[in-house]
């Protein structure tokens, strides 16, 4: 059902004079983020690529950041909007700390804040072009949620953004179970990231895996996945095809 056609008439009340103030499309983008709950907390993985359209322009972009004491934020989509969100969250956490009341914002609260921010920007027709994954735990309660650029949000035992929804979620639905060990969780995430590496053209083979437990956040050093390209079908690809090149 097309409730709101994306074409706006010239005299629409909803389009201001200068449309150059609104986001129309993203420029530098990050691809999928995949995350799952495991025995001790949350595991999240994202590669370090920042694409400029079809060019893999930046290869050391950290797309996962700790937020406060209890949360970890991963983002795909426009990198500059992600940096803006980090500035918003910085202010949020600062004010939370300045209360100095022994209380601190948990992942559920941060996720709710992010949802409201994303939804409000969508209402003004100037979205933050990101899909966010927010994971964490507070007082032993694990939390993993996601928000899209138009404000659609939910929590689940495993989440992914972008291509991860198509390629990683099915693997996770099959193989995720309650109380995964750290090693099993990492193995599962690496399996997902490997499939994304093979099949997502915006993926780069340089990734980080982040973990958040009651003790805090650890983001791994960047590393690469082993890949296999010796399939016989890749050898001499033009063998069966008549062509000039």
């Amino acid at each position: 059902m097309n409730f709101m056609a994306s074409k706006q008439p010239e005299n629409s009340l909803l389009s201001p004079e200068s449309d150059s103030q609104r986001t129309l499309y993203p420029y530098v983008t990050g691809t999928s983020v995949v995350a799952l709950k495991y025995k001790d907390g949350i595991l999240m993985a994202a590669d370090m690529g920042g694409s400029y359209g079809s060019t893999l322009r930046y290869k050391s972009v950290e797309r996962m950041k700790p937020i406060g004491k209890h949360s970890l934020l991963g983002a795909s989509g426009e990198i500059s909007d992600f940096q803006e969100i980090l500035r918003y969250l910085d202010e949020l956490i600062l004010y939370d700390n300045m209360w100095d009341d022994g209380n601190s914002l948990g992942p559920k609260e941060v996720h709710n804040y992010l949802t409201r921010v994303m939804y409000n920007r969508r209402n003004k027709f100037n979205p933050l072009w990101n899909s966010l994954v927010l994971g964490g735990l507070k007082n032993g309660q694990k939390y993993l949620g996601t928000v899209s650029m138009i404000g659609v949000n939910f929590e689940d035992n495993h989440v992914a953004t972008g291509f991860g929804n198509h390629l990683a979620r099915p693997i996770l639905r099959q193989e995720w179970h309650e109380n995964l060990s750290f090693e099993d969780g990492v193995r599962l995430l690496e399996k997902c990231m490997r499939v994304l590496l093979y099949r997502d053209r915006s993926a780069v083979n340089k990734l980080q895996i982040a973990k958040i437990t009651e003790d805090g956040v650890t983001i791994s050093q960047p590393y690469s996945l082993k890949t296999y390209w010796e399939f016989s079908a890749f050898e001499n690809p033009a063998q069966g095809a008549i062509g000039s090149w």
């Binding site: 209402n123 138009i150 404000g151 949000n153 689940d156 979620r169």
Partner: protein, 223 residues
Amino acid sequence: MPKEQANWSPYDNNGGSCVAVAGADYCVIAADTRMSTGYNILTRDYSKICKLADKCVMASSGFQADVKALQKHLAARHLIYQHQHNKQMSCPAMAQLLSNTLYYKRFFPYYSFNVLGGLDNEGKGCVFTYDAVGSYEKVGYSSQGSGSTLIMPFLDNQLKSPSPLLLPARDAVTPLAEAEAIDLVKTVFASASERDIYTGDKLEIVVINADGIRREYMDLRKD
């Protein structure tokens, strides 16, 4: 220089179906727990049902972010009402508030298709059904959402609602017992899950009667 057009839509349809059936002294509100986008399932365990007041429950399907915002808005208004009137809002009162809230955004609507169910001040079941911009009516039963085209005709057949043109006006609430109504709702969702790709995974049923509110779950097809 022709104006650049936006290539994103502020709306999405996250699918799902909702049903409510009113009885003489109970009300059954049900919705599936699947949340989708396009041909993907986002999650299989998402509740579309929200308790707005002690005897008033709303089930909404459509664009989830708008549904969430609407639920928050109504919950906040209900809190204010409680502070000002020192009592819970009745179901008919909440029904009017929901209608006004929806119409307020007539020119940038909440893409939310709602059914409101509960007990009125006399303890009789009541169901209100809405479109996205707030037009509503009190009915004996209703369904909204992606499966409503499959569900509604079946409910019409089973619950035989009297014509609203009759004089004297006949009651729309069903004479069925609570257990029979719940069974009907389960059947209806099982059927809708067969043919509607956006309906399935799990069914959440909320029953309101004189004893209070209780919740039941039933598995649905996961494909």
